[in-house]
Amino acid sequence: MKPVSIIEGTAVPLDRSDVDTDQIIPSDWLKRVERTGFEKGLFSEWRDDKDFVLNNDAYSGANILLAGPNFGTGSSREHAVWAIQQAGFDAVISPRFGPIFKNNSTKNGLVPVEIETTIAEELMRQVQTDPNLYFVIDIAKRTLEVAQIGLTVDFPLESSIQDRFLKGLDDIGITLEHTKAIETFEKQRNSWLQRQ
């Protein structure tokens, strides 16, 4: 994972609640064994609708996805995170994320920015009227700032995850430093669990 400290840019307003991972990347795309090439699959069923917000040129350069509540619920498919990133997004803002999606995001350097519903709704309205609204997400400070409308809000990010983002650390590498503890644990596991 690459280190990430500041994400800045414009946002796409995806004004829907309960956007599940089946919508983010439909199951046909899950047959692939590679980790790349998922950008075309992103919202592929909704993209056929020319009015779908991702087809709106006004938002074409955006690198932040602004979504309604319960974003990324449902299936555990990490392909959803890969598709969002490969389509050029660095962060997703939502009042509430599906837990596995959120977890998967943090493993790949996609920043989940959780903010209050009322603020998210206000931002949605603002971005719908002004596509050029400029967002600054500061990982070190755990803040989201939109200077044009005088908004600065904190968002939660567990300190170990924040640290991994800032330093670009590999989770497995961190755990392998604790191999001794794993070995010790394995020695005292209940005897009936030791299958061959």
Partner: protein, 466 residues
């Protein structure tokens, strides 16, 4: 203060904690399948890492497998490549795989329990959100992404931030004809799709205690639909009875020792949950979803709600969008809506008890003309058991299509798909847009309601049939 069941399992699996890092949990059982594992194995190879405990890792082929002509090669080349990749990866890293056609093959969440791999007090993970199913045994079981699959393969552990605890108590007694599926749909109606986010849910109360292991699995299976990290039920005599004698379960002295430990796995009297939900089981009638998320639920005897009646604008808009996608009118009676397809299967409802309850309704009756049906057992073991009991004959004589085991139309990665606008009564777990095939319309129901609906041709309970 006492501990909850999930806190006990958590602390029994703590490899290390503290110093600014999340808790590191040991994983007792890692189940894998073809869809979410290829990139994880690639990651291992790229970093020159091995699988730490191939003996605690078990694979099966389920999502892509066809449910007909399985003696032929898989026609879809990309599906075939994914299956072959799993075979190669498991062979290379020394992991047991149950391939298509194998006597142990089936949906990952069906085979784990039936092979006795899933046991009380264990931590179980799989790159699949419905891993919560295994919580029925009093295991802490949750779905993970591909990066985490790689992590578990490499280390047999997972770093996990602490979770809140949630109790969902269902008191009283279920009315005749209501099942575990109706219970979990009623819970979804109560708490919504976000109601469990950030928590591990424990199902409690007299209704839960009276459920069979199959019923408890149905209940835990759909915990993820209200966003819970995991769902679980304290193990009891019903659990031990189910496990005794299963292939991978302890025997002799080990069994006694295991049971003694399993009996300590309950929530202490003085433990406190962060969230509590209580439902009256006697008020739960057969349920059906009308919309495009599993929280949009009504009784089969009910009518489609009017979006204008929702106070919350986001819910109102979601309801409008759902009705539009589903091609439904507010106020229509559910019993007046006809279906094109009925799917009985998936890790929610494809176990022997589910098939028995559907067959009981089907027996001596015929599927309504023009209704397409698929009955897909969850595993080969279930299929063989059903055939030994003659259930296949009941289904076939009534006009149901009897298939080979796999995920099938639950997510339409194999040839079993809905077409645009096709309406389906399904015993699966997700009614998302396009979940069962692009443009398809899914209504989630229990196996009894699915079978009755196939016979009536419109949504019905067995009691509605003449």
């Amino acid at each position: 203060m006492g501990k909850t069941l999930s806190q006990k399992i958590w602390s029994d699996h703590l490899v290390r904690s503290g110093s600014g890092l999340p808790d590191l949990l040991y994983i007792d059982l890692h189940l894998i399948h073809e869809v979410t594992s290829p990139q994880a194995f690639d990651g291992l190879r790229m970093n020159g890492r091995r699988v730490r405990r191939p003996d605690l890792t078990v694979a099966t082929e389920d999502h892509n497998v066809p449910t007909e002509n399985i003696d032929q090669p898989i026609a879809d080349e990309i599906s075939l490549k994914q299956i072959e990749t799993l075979r190669n990866n498991t062979a290379e890293f020394g992991i047991t795989n149950y391939p298509m056609g194998d006597p142990h093959q089936g949906i990952v969440h069906v085979i784990g329990p039936e092979l006795g791999l899933t046991q009380p007090g264990m931590t179980v993970v799989c790159g699949d959100s419905h891993t919560s199913t295994h919580g029925a045994f009093g295991a802490l079981a949750f779905g993970i992404g591909t990066s985490e699959v790689e992590h578990v393969l490499a280390t047999q552990t997972l770093p996990q931030p602490g979770q809140e605890t949630m109790s969902i108590t269902i008191n009283g007694e279920l009315p005749e004809g209501s099942t575990a599926k109706d219970v979990v749909l009623a819970i979804l109606n109560e708490v919504g799709t976000g109601g469990g986010i950030g928590a591990i849910a424990e199902f409690r109360g007299s209704v839960v205690e009276s459920l069979s292991m199959e019923g408890r699995m149905t209940l835990c299976n759909m915990s993820i639909e209200f966003g819970a990290k995991a769902g679980l039920v304290a193990p009891d005599e019903v659990t031990f009875e189910y496990l005794k004698g299963l292939e991978n379960c302890p025997e002799g002295e080990d069994w006694d020792e295991a049971v003694a430990y399993w009996k300590t796995l309950f929530t202490d009297q003085d433990a406190v949950f962060d969230r509590e939900v209580v439902l009256d089981g006697s008020a739960i009638s057969p349920q059906v979803t009308w919309g495009t998320n599993p929280g949009q639920v009504i009784p089969v005897s009910g009518s489609i709600p009017n979006p204008q009646d929702y106070a919350d604008p986001a819910e109102r808009e979601a309801a409008e969008r759902a009705l539009d996608y589903m091609g439904l009118q507010a106020g229509s009676e559910m019993r007046s809506i006809s279906v094109d397809t009925v799917f009985i299967g998936s890790c929610t409802n494809s176990r022997i008890e589910d098939l028995r309850s559907a067959a009981e309704v089907a027996q001596g009756r015929s599927v309504a003309s023009g209704v397409r049906t698929l009955v897909v057992p969850g595993s080969r073991v279930v299929k063989e058991q059903a055939e030994a009991e003659g259930l296949d004959k009941i289904f076939i004589e009534s006009g149901f299509d009897w298939r080979e085991p796999g995920c099938s139309m639950c997510l339409a990665m194999n040839p079993d798909k809905l077409t645009v606008g096709e309406r389906c009564a399904s015993t699966s777990n997700r009614n998302f847009e396009g979940r069962q095939g692009r443009g398809g319309r899914t209504h989630l129901v229990s196996p009894r309601v699915a079978a009755a609906t196939a016979i009536a041709g419109y949504f019905a309970t067995p009691e509605d049939l003449s």
